[in-house]
Amino acid sequence: MSVFRYPTLSGVARRVRAVLGLETGDTRGALPEPTSADGHSAGGVAPENMIWIFGTGRTGSTWLAAMMEEPEGHDVWFEPRVGTVFDPQRFQRHGGKHFILASQYKDVWLRSIRNFILDGANARFPELDGGYLAVKEPGGSVGAGLIMEALPESGMVLLIRDPRDVVASWLDATRKGGWQTRRRGEGGRRAESLAETNPNAFVRRHAYAYLQHVGSARRAYEAHEGRKVVVRYEDLRADTLGTMKRMYGELDVPVGEAQLAKAVEKHSWENIPEEEKGQGKFYRKATPEAWREDLTRRQVKTVERITAPLLEEFYPKGPAEQQG
């Protein structure tokens, strides 16, 4: 029998980096121990310098990530979707000890998740030695809990937006000619069809998606004992610089105010060319509470009913009916 042992590819990657003259990063540290004695990895991306942005799509995460990418020594990992791999809800019925993510072996697979992420980050951002990496991961929020458990030193941003505005934004994006429909092609045509033919069903589906994604991110936020902050899109719109300063303050990330102000200015709504904004475009309205114009009364009630626990927590004004 052959006893040849295949080379581990993270070992390969480390050697590759050595061959290329790049700094190496050992990401094989046992959980929750840091990857080196002083709590920092030898190079590349340190787990404590990662800032995860969870929530859901259409909450302004692209905008926030764009601003977070600006300061020197900062970078953004744009939607790795690692959270989607580790979506525990997909496997609820497989609770047995044989399941790869069985609780009895959590220490083993949590370390694998950690390595999976850190190896991926180090390969993509080898030059970010000591810098900060924001991970824009709204689409992977279903796995936020496991990710934050695997990387307890990382910072976390829970980015929230009124679910009625989120659903209204999706409805616009997925209608005929909407940016999402154009981008997705064949798949988009199916979604477009539902947004056009049965908008109420579309609204219901996206309200549940909001509940699932933001609910998962919310639970991860609650459980995370490290640095974390809740950012509401509405606050970010009302006072971008102030909200960014608060966010970095809570995350204990030093960013010069002048640098931050420059980033905020560069990516402000007002600086997006007019022709790139409007109905059916990626940059649509950026107007909090625009759902009042965009959704029907019935659709509003649907979203409010489905997302009630989150709506009450983050937008406690009460349902639209009571607001007059």
């Binding site: 006893v3 290329l20 790795p80 989607t84 790869i100 697979w109 694998s112 190896d119 991926g120």
Partner: protein
């Protein structure tokens, strides 16, 4: 760039990075891919009975990674930021490799401790990710277990009706089985199952074709017709030593005839074990649906039967 640099490393005569002492040997893993209701429980039970073998029952690791790679984010394979993006394929395949080997070693230390031990991984429902798993573990051995898609669909149609073994299974897990399409819209259910067959067996077949290591294709129908001979063929193709007497004993012990009668029949896990039973179970329209959706695989895997 990573690949080129790796070639440079190898050409300088550096030894390959070793894996930790005491870890699972990848060549001692025997993967069983296909899809649900192809007899994988039976096959793995026969193999698991034999001394020196352990059985990992549906880890679903193939589903974990395959679902994102092939379905949910298949369109992002060229995106550098995507965690399973093409540019970093060698890196994440290594992670997948470590994920499997570390998990296997933690669960089956008795196999990891010795070089002669084998771990049979029954993974029909993770077959979607079979190409990724076999690429990550090229030394592993592979069994592609197939069955006529019409019989597979018929078996699933029976399993998902009200009050069957699948409902019992869910109840054991503290849940009630929701109403199934198998009852309300059986033709739609059949179509869905046929698509699932194509997804699972199609990907498992791709993995089988690409795999350069030891492998064997087994048809459920051959296993039923002559179990011992089929089993001997499997061990021979996989180059695994086995005592024929021990194998015969295991085959006998796990024979359909030795399953108590009250555990067999409609709605039960052990249903018919009858190749061609679909002729009694499916309507002609349903058989046509399956043949339409899975026709290509059916012709490839059952070239004679498909023309019958």
């Amino acid at each position: 760039m990573i690949r080129d640099a790796w070639r440079k490393v190898r050409s300088r005569g550096m030894p390959p990075a070793g894996e930790e002492t005491g870890s699972m040997l990848p060549e001692n893993l025997i993967w069983v891919f296909g899809t649900a209701r192809t007899g994988s429980s039976w096959l793995s039970a026969i193999m698991g009975e034999i001394g020196g073998y352990s059985r990992w029952h549906e880890p679903l690791v193939g589903h974990l990674f395959g679902n994102l790679y092939y379905e949910r984010a298949g369109h992002r394979s060229e995106d550098e930021h995507f965690i399973l993006g093409g540019r970093y394929r060698y890196l994440w395949l290594d992670t997948l490799r470590r994920f499997v080997l570390d998990s296997a070693a933690a669960r089956f230390p008795e196999v990891a401790a010795k070089e002669e031990g084998y771990l049979i991984i029954k993974e029909p429902q993770g077959s979607m990710g079979a190409p990724l798993l076999m690429e990550a573990l090229p030394e592993s051995r592979m069994i592609l277990l197939v069955r006529d898609p019409r019989d597979v669909v018929a078996s699933n149609l029976d399993a998902h009706k009200k009050g069957t073994w699948t409902a019992d299974l869910m109840r054991k897990g503290g849940k009630e089985k929701p109403p199934s399409l198998a009852e309300s819209r059986p033709d739609a259910f059949v179509r869905g199952q046929a698509r699932r067959y194509v997804r699972d067996v199609g990907n498992a077949k791709k993995a089988y074709d690409a795999h350069r290591g030891l492998k064997v294709l087994v048809r459920y129908e051959d296993l039923r017709a002559n179990t011992l001979e089929s089993m001997k063929r499997i061990y021979s193709a996989l180059e695994i030593p086995v005592e024929e007497a021990e194998l015969a004993r295991s085959v006998e012990k796990n024979a359909w005839e030795n399953i108590p009668a009250e555990q067999k029949g409609e709605g039960k896990f052990h249903r018919k074990a009858k190749p061609g039973g679909w002729r009694e179970d499916l309507t002609p329209e349903q058989a046509e649906i399956v043949e339409g959706v899975a026709g290509s695989l059916l012709r490839e895997l059952y070239p004679v039967r498909s023309t019958a």
